[in-house]
Symmetry: C2
Subunit: 225 residues, 2 copies
């Protein structure tokens, strides 16, 4: 068999420790910041020389929360309500023969951490905290940007929920993290369009548990623990 071994060069740190709440694609919640921490072997400033000339970078990563032994030729994209089966290669589903993810994120900058070496600060990631990253490449518009591309069943995500914070809840989130939380919630983290206004959901975000309900187009944060 023609097997190849790949090894993480880095892991990303984000405020979302579980799949629940992670945006369905990169770039949807720009306020969500992440930090890419290299493995010791790759903590080399030279390896990043010139990267700050690029505003966006690609991450190729492992769907580490979606590992399955088997693969299924079809999946049910949440975008289609979860009832229609599409070919796995016609989707960005995590359940694929090689569980590789691909995300274009904005590069905010390169920081040098005394312990961790060079760390990339990025915005708009759709990765769970701790996700292994196999490769980082610059986004090159003349090759990667195809404004004329037809997008099948996955048009712009469009409408979002209104997010309301019950009194006293927003104050429990650090101010610099509020836009990211609001962005995550506005994009409706519920699985497959559940419609139960009484149901209380719990989102783990930045070390807090954020409890909310959704009624129609309005999401209300009722508690932050």
């Amino acid at each position: 068999m023609e097997d190849y071994v790949i090894r993480p060069i880095a892991h990303i740190r984000t405020d979302l420790p579980e799949k629940f709440g992670v945006p369905r694609q990169a770039g949807i919640v720009e306020a969500l910041e992440g930090r890419i921490v290299f493995e010791p072997e790759y903590r080399r400033e030279e390896a990043l020389r010139g990267i700050e000339g690029f505003s966006h970078i690609w991450l190729i990563w492992q769907f580490s929360k979606a590992l399955r032994e088997d693969w299924s030729p079809t999946v049910r994209p949440p975008r289609l309500g979860g009832n229609v089966r599409m070919g796995v290669f016609a989707t960005r589903s995590p359940f694929r023969p090689n569980a590789l993810g691909l995300s274009c994120v904005r590069l905010l900058g390169v920081e040098t951490d005394p312990e961790l070496g060079p760390v990339l600060r990025v915005a708009g990631a759709d990765l769970v905290d701790g996700t292994p990253i196999f490769d980082i490449k610059p986004y090159v518009p003349y090759a990667d940007c195809r404004p004329e591309a037809a997008s099948g069943f996955a048009p712009d995500p469009g409408a979002t929920l209104s997010v309301v914070y019950a009194p006293g809840t927003q104050e429990r989130i650090p101010p610099e993290k509020r836009p990211a939380l609001t962005g995550v919630l506005a994009n409706d983290p519920r699985p497959r369009y559940q419609e139960d206004a009484a149901r209380v959901y719990g989102l783990d975000f930045a070390g807090k548990n954020v409890k909310f309900t959704v009624d129609g187009e309005t999401l209300t944060v009722i508690e932050v623990e």
Copy 2:
């Protein structure tokens, strides 16, 4: 160590059996067609259901002609004349810790081959014939298209060479393959801007060996064997 095993789902067939002549990025030579042939386990039409709604797809693949045991934190991009060292993660160089390639290609269609099963016809690939492919994903403009992206030291490739065919040479290339050959040559396959008008280069293309010289901005095909 945190190793992952990945296995090709397919291989691409193109008219370029060697690295020499392969465009430096996807989409540069649109006339270059390729066929993606799935491995027996993945020859399932359901796995492609819906893919024809997308005009472009991503390929994640192995730089199979560029395997090295070691990695170097810096590389010398041909775009910069081959003399300037850049960080490997600031380039699309094949010589990277995990030798993964990433290409956006145009999807021309899905054919069914009686022996090979469903085959994807694509345009604009920058892959050597026989390259292993690990994943195929739809190109989703709202997540993947960033027209505002700044592109560092890799702006649009821009100017190309004029291609002239010496009498009798063009006729040796099948008519449907001539635009692709002209496109490959116009993009200057020479390594690192060699300037020697007397030097004869040989390009393997579609089973022929194409001999050419370059003088200034003009490339002349002198023989096709």
